[in-house]
Assembly symmetry: C2
Homo-oligomer: 603 residues x 2
């Protein structure tokens, strides 16, 4: 009998293992927190943040329940584009510290269970990079490392570029080089010459850079500006958006269609190759290496989705979803619904969604929209299915700073002050001490926001109604509630003011209704639209804590910028209601078997 | 002791199996023979070839040592483009027979060990296809099966097309449809509307067509006109080759750059998906399904190479290599060397080369060059590494026929008589009987070549110095000599007249030197250029049989159009000579271990 029992137990265990879904990987279960390293924490009193500073602040992430940290570039760089112009992909810029600092930071992070995502910037190098120096002086191996072309010049100044291509930052994408006597292509600054990925040696060298950082132990790569990696070899003029415009007057990136400088055939093969390399380093348990791509494709969302790869070859784990960055343009419940649905309905089956509401290239929520909406937008971010990305400071609702024209640091801002990105790169506001606890220097590289004494981490840690408290409550809720971290989402309602969705998981009776007010105060009656919902739900989280305990679904009152996570119990999942089929989505589907208390797949 | 011996034997056997390279697959070991079914054999006296006719001629392939047969389209079709305008992808056109005829043909082929490759035409259907009929009358599911766009029209005639796109056959690629009141896109004839592969249902339906024929048991698919499958969604004007040309006068395909109508991002994903389906049907031993793509990319050879897929996802087994079709333009030893090297040096590592010297879209060798060179070009084709493709009739050196303008059958020829393809589609010349044994009809769809009585299969079977005899000798030689079918090629010499290369395999002392005269009579001294070769070699095959037994490498005399396969023995492989490293290539590398008489890999 003992033998029989043992056999049965083994069989049952094997079945359970076979039916159990994989746990979510770290890049799926934790939000990603973006650090702009110049502005996070200064440790050596020079007024600029650094790696040691980040290490000193690691407890902040433990406090936030955030495990995935992405640090913007810290490589050796002349800082013409604040580190996106890399002089040496294998060295730390002295302003940020040393390689030892990096190694210490990484091991401190791993000790705390934190994962590190770093930037990989394949499109270009700094013009100070040794490859470019060797390329311009004609060293054989490096001759074709960049994109060189004959052009007309007088006294070292280009008089006629090889074609009409324009840099992202404005003006011709070509620059005459006096040493080589030819023009080179730069899709960004002239100090950022584009690498020539048609050259197999360039691809190999850049792949070696990927390997270098994976060997060091970094957990993920955020791949910068990927759509620019390849250009058409024929170098023909790009078509003008307005064919009537005088070709001589074309100076802005938006005046051309970028048919020859973006998203060329062959691009995805390169990215898939890098994913393969990352897979080689992903075999140890818990050591999965994560890949995310940056590409702004605007109305051509199909282009973005291609970075997910195909059913037979993997590419990025996800491409950054930047569509919620459009929220400030016309904030409303309906607009938010549209943006969420845009991603969910275009994302190919089997993939993992993600959401970005801010980064180093976009204004802060509190300024672009209003302080009133900081909480509700964080609630949106943290209750949607998939991986949220938060830009440093958004957890406390930091605002843009004012930067006068003569103080502009950002190279893009220098070209066009209306495009200045300094305002949303100001130092992190930690406490009420001088420089907000960011630095002990006399002067910080950008000024600290003047009102930091009323908006900082320390204050908000002591205030249970603060944005920080809400952020922390929501990240904890994500971790504890299966329906939130791998359940269905059903978009059930939107109007000018309110956007509402349900999160639920097959087999679990606990479900959530999230009601977000992105307009003005209003009362929503969901009983007619979703009669399958119960008549009442309890308030699990509110952006206005303590205001109410239960809510009647016939009259859900929300104020301007208020958000509610309502909890209820049901045996009627909304995603099974045919009316909502087109508005329900699930990734990594799993079901709960309550008798055994386990999840299973193929359900 | 017996036990020990057995164990040792088992271990040795296991090692040998582990080290043995896979045998070449059928699509690698046999030449591909292209049948234009209208012209191969007529079985029902209507003057047009048919499937039963092909079945009656299967012994020809056994005789030729050819195992892979590609038959151009035989689907139900209004024959506006001779079968490339398909009305039903799952039916046989009555002119070619019935589905029963097809099934009989396929099983007869399989009985003889022959493999069947059929055409798959994804880019367009006939305008008579039920999908198009439903699309033009607005049936919901089919509305977007084709590419429709509003356009200006007067009395049912288009007065302004949606953009400047031009059909491959000339004039606007748009056609007004009076039923739907919109314009549709046709990259080929107006009777060939382009399918809309951005519609997932279209992709699924066409994938089901692939499955249909694989289920039937066909061994391979030749995918037609693949680069045209996707177009840019924005439908913007394509750039003019000559920007000064009056846009009103653009009528020819060559007057535009096809940046929006060819090779769009996403194309390879579709093809890779079809390869995946073919893999599903390739698991039984000996039942590998072969995929070859047709795409003319001219100077952009990198585009062609992309059809091989990447190191992590397979696509075509090979894209047709059409570069040797340029041979007639400027026949010389050097030009031939350049074309061979072009492919070999651009083909990514690990892939299998292939060679095409004629097809239904290109003039016959005997006419485009001269009868003088038929043999030497067949020798080139059959001694290069990789898979050769022969167009029917080339094995006997058939010539183009003359077709007067009023007799033109080809739709492209009707648009532009200088592009008429009828001359190289004339009936196969089997024997000296009426209609060359092709048909017992009074009139054949195209005239039989008037000189068929001096150029036909029957005559050449009885003539050991005929093109047919040479072709057969060479296919047999390929089969019997390892160096030829999977060895190295080293391109050792070229001048205005002669092109010479070595075929050798590691571990085998028998090697071959192929010397081809593609110019005028000359004497070549290879002793200075390749002193590693022996001083003498024996003549294994000559296009002028019996003329000599051995040749001194110091003075290899060749006449105009003469070709020699010279055999020699050596311990000094040319591919190990550093001077030749860039001119030596190998695919499916294997080495010979003479003590055991086996091949092994990883060498
Ligand atoms: Ca680039
Ligand atoms: Ca097409």
């Amino acid at each position: 009998l003992t033998v029989l029992c043992t056999l049965v137990l083994v069989a049952v265990t094997a079945t359970i293992i076979a039916l159990s879904p994989q746990c979510l990987s770290w890049w799926q279960s934790s939000p990603v927190y973006q650090i702009y390293p110049r502005s996070f924490q200064d440790s050596d009193q020079d007024g600029v943040g650094d790696l040691k500073g980040i290490q000193n602040r690691l407890d902040h992430f433990v406090y936030l329940n955030v495990k995935a940290i992405w640090i913007s570039p810290f490589y050796k760089s002349p800082m013409k584009d604040f580190g996106y112009d890399v002089e040496d992909f294998r060295e730390i810029d002295p302003i940020f510290g040393t390689m030892e600092d990096f190694d210490n930071l990484l091991s401190s992070m791993h000790d705390r269970g934190l994962k590190l995502i770093i930037d990989f910037i394949p499109n270009h190098t700094s013009d100070k990079h040794v490859w470019f120096q060797r390329s311009r002086n004609g060293t054989e191996k490096y001759k074709d490392y960049y994109i060189w072309k004959d052009c007309e010049s007088v006294n070292g100044t280009m008089t006629k570029p090889p074609n009409n291509w324009v840099s992202v930052f404005g003006n011709s994408a070509w620059q005459f080089d006096t040493v080589r006597g030819q023009c080179y292509l730069h899709q960004f600054l002239k100090e950022q010459p584009d690498l020539n990925f048609r050259n197999a040696d360039v691809l190999k060298d850049m792949t070696d850079v990927v390997r270098f950082w994976l060997e060091k132990g970094v957990d993920g790569l955020r791949m910068d500006a990927v759509k620019f990696i390849l250009e058409a070899e024929h170098l023909r003029d790009e078509p003008q958006v307005n064919p009537q415009q005088n070709p001589e007057n074309i100076t802005s990136h938006s005046e051309l269609y970028h048919d020859y400088t973006e998203s060329q055939v062959g691009l995805h093969v390169i990215l898939q190759g890098w994913r393969q390399v990352m897979d080689e380093y992903s075999t140890e348990p818990g050591r999965y290496r994560f890949m995310v791509t940056e590409s702004y494709d605007y109305e051509e969302i199909g282009r973005t989705m291609m970075y997910y790869g195909t059913s037979f070859v993997q590419e990025a784990n996800f491409p950054f979803n930047f569509y919620l960055l459009d929220l400030p343009e016309s904030l409303s419940g309906r607009a938010c619904y549209d943006l969420v649905k845009l991603w969910m309905s275009n994302m190919p089956k089997g993939y993992w969604p993600n959401w970005v509401v801010g980064n180093h290239d976009n204004p802060r929520i509190a300024s672009a929209v209003s302080r009133k909406y900081v909480n509700v937008i964080n609630m949106l971010l943290l209750t949607l299915p998939g991986t949220p990305t938060s830009y440093y400071g958004e957890e406390i609702g930091m605002e843009n700073i004012a930067v006068s024209e003569d103080q502009i640091q950002d190279p893009f801002g220098k070209f066009d002050p209306s495009e200045n990105r300094d305002p949303f790169r100001s130092p992190m506001q930690w406490d009420s001490s001088p420089n907000a606890g960011f630095s002990e220097a006399n002067k910080t590289w950008l000024p600290v926001h003047p009102e930091y004494q009323t908006c900082n981490v320390m204050m908000q840690r002591n205030d249970s109604s603060s944005p920080l408290a809400l952020y922390r409550t929501l990240t904890a809720l994500r971790d504890s509630e299966l329906s939130l971290h791998r359940g269905w989402v059903c978009l059930v309602w939107s109007d000018a003011d309110v956007f509402a969705y349900v999160r639920e998981l097959d087999g679990l009776s606990t479900a959530f209704l999230i009601v977000l007010n992105l307009g003005n105060g209003s009362t929503t009656d969901l009983t007619a639209v979703v009669p399958e919902l119960p008549r009442e739900a309890s308030v699990r989280v509110s952006t206005l804590p303590g205001s109410k305990k239960t809510v009647s679904l016939a009259a859900i009152k929300t104020e301007r910028g208020e958000g509610l996570v309502l909890e209820y119990h049901t045996r009627q999942p909304i995603h099974e209601v045919s009316r909502f089929r087109e508005n329900c989505f699930v990734s990594e589907k799993a079901c709960y078997f309550s008798a055994l208390g386990i999840l299973y797949k193929n359900c």
